[in-house]
Amino acid sequence: MIPPRDITLLVNGREYSVQVEPRKTLADTIREDCGLTGTHLGCEHGVCGACTILIDGSPVRSCLLFAVQCQGTAIETVEGLATDGVLHPLQEAFWEHHGLQCGFCTPGFLMLAKGALDEDPSLTRDELREVLSSNLCRCTGYQNILIAVEAAAARMRP
């Protein structure tokens, strides 16, 4: 076993100094060492997207990264989405449009959509469907997720 390393992660603007084995995934580190359990694990191998977070603004699957790879990056998780208790437009839209049921996939979809819309808030419906096809939801049939993301995109446009 390779000995643990001391690393510092910047998550939602806050520094977390943690000691992790080099093989520990970012998802496990965020959940266990940073105590941020809003990032969920559905498949543990990069298919379902429930663990999607943002690294330097881009959506990534945190189960496919090692924590030690992520020093010096800006990590955003679902816990950082609302600011001062005010919901992000995506969170508001998911709530209003019933874009969640069990909610297990929701943090991943929120972070996926945030990354995509921050980069290009003018994405069309067809482009959004392609973006959202990288994550799995088992409850909703996706209809309301798409409606919610479209509604949020309209609110997020400058």
Binding site: H40, G42, W95, H98, F104, E130, C137, R138
Partner: protein
Amino acid sequence: MSTRTGRKVGTPQGVVGTSPLRPDGIPKLQGRFEYAQDLAAEGMLWAATVRSPHARARIASIDIAPALAIGGVHACLTADDVPGRATFGLEHPDQPVLAAQEARFWGEPVAVVAAEDLDTARRAAAAIEVGYEPLEALTDPEEANRRDEVFRRMRIRRGDQSVRGAVVVEGEYEVGMQDQAPLGTEAGLAVPDGQGGVDLYATSQYVHVDQEQVVASLGLRPDQVRSHPTGIGGAFGAREDVNLHIHLCMLALHTGRPVKMVYRRSESFTGHVHRHPAWLRYRHEADRDGRLVRVEASVVLDGGAYASTTSAVLANACYFAVGPYTCDSVAVDGVGVRTNNPPCGAMRGFGAVQVCFGYESQMDRLAHALEMDPLTLREINALETGHPLATTGQVIQTPLPTVEVIKSLQAMPLPEAGPSDLPTELPGGSGLTSEPQHVTRGVGYALGIKNLGFSEGSDDYAQARVRITDSGAVVETAAIEVGQGLVTVLAQIARSALGISHVEVAHVDTSKIDSAGSTSASRQTQVSGGATLEAAQRLRERILGQFDGDVLDDEGVWRGDTLVTPWTALAAGDWEETVTFRHPPTTMTDDNGQGVAHADFAVAGHRAVVDVDVELGLVKVLRVDTAQDVGLALNPQSVRGQIEGGILQGVGLAVMEELVMGEGVILNPTFTDYLLPTILDAPEVEALLIEQEGSWGPYGAKGVGEPPTISSTAAVAAAIRAASGREIERVPVRPQDIALP
């Protein structure tokens, strides 16, 4: 008593018929909602499970010494360590808590370990040396049937068995093994109470039945085990049976420490039951006008190694083997066989899904033979209120708008012709393999019927408590929220009945309230909703009676336009009402399968539109539109959410979702290999809710969770048949079934 005059007449907010936002929405959207995966306790150990790598093997020896020698390992438990009943089971306790002399399916738990951390627990599990002697596995259901390895046989005979029709169609159909694949795997935490008892927080659809099974296998008194509802990432039937519950409690009591376990995805695929694969044989006979005069069906379900709910699933499959159609001469024979395949049990639709693919394929065949429009044939034979169910003879007492479902489907506009030129919209998606000129379009219809609530004489009840609080009222229940929105709808019912706006739902553990039964069989809105309604109504009447008032609202009790009891005074009292609700009684059927087996029914229909590249065997499901009998939609947004999600699971079974078995081994237990529909696989859905008064559910509501999954599969299969000209006798439809029939 303070009084005030000048009442403002107002309607409470968030009542039935509206769609208030889910109260658990904010924590779920902020990542603060606590799922079973997220639970933690001071001094907690982690657990792991040792599973059989054989479909069938004699267990000659188990050596736990190598595992115990690893630092940080606190317990390695085997069958010898089960303190009470060695077996568990939802209907029949036939499944070992831990396999003893013989392992009977691939992935069966043999030992469990607890250690300081997860890595150590997994290393310890791998270090346990189990001496297996592989035995010949029985994996062929027909062979199991020949050997009389069965959980249940069903025989239904109704009417004159000699009746014959002028037009006859026969068919054999097969349904693959589907997985519920809830996005959250099985997880839980058991905490010893220091006095020999234990508190369990684990993924569940039915905490009281978990508690009963833990009590039995741990040899404890019922009051020593408390099972707590906890946050879960979907269910769809996968969480009715015990899996890690007894193991966690054993480990917690053995070590005296809280113990947590989370299944990995690959483990989840073996850790819960699946939808039964089915083999169906049908013979439909009709007169020349299209009236069904005789239906014969044979149903074989593979129950796998242990009973789970196979006998109830088989009963459902047989009772609904004719579908929502009348027929006065019926013979159905069914068997649920025991094999060394993975145990199968509850999944959304519960037996009604498999036979629907069979009988609807037959109805299309019959329409073709009669040269008749398929919906016209269905309308001629539609089962409605007042008719006897073709199989059991039970006369339908509640509204069953089958004809309206058919007419609604007929009236829905079809999408524009021709495949889209968007690559993602073509069969095969953005792989760019299909070309528009090779794509043909097909439209298919299917109807389905399902019982609501538990059947065959089950004492099916739910308890709920409504209590006045400082801010309004709380509904206390042990009914599980799986994501469907029970937490929203129970509050709506209480608001409507009490006449107030502020109602919350609190999930309480098994020691604080009696059972709500399972969150399954589309039943909680009707049954826990019924208990909530009655409790709230009684509470309101008692309060009004006590203060001689005529109106209760958010401010308190009013007499005329005088506030005689403000809310603060009401909240200072001890106002609560607890109700146990039972739906109309049912009975076990007789030797011919005749009787009043069901409490209520719902019917739905689906129209699927697909594009198919026949040469490549690829399918794109464009639309699945539906009309569904909902009684009254208490929360239209949630009802549509159930419909859209349920349809996609039906589409999954139609074209992609199958656990592929090889000699009892699941060959694809990952999300890479077990394909779930993404948004690009999801059809657009237009849902028409058909509302009719008369069901016994609160305000006439019917359960809505399962009907979307029942006939959507058959509709997609019918559409593929129409587009491709292939027979399509099996779901999921694989590329080779279309391209290389």
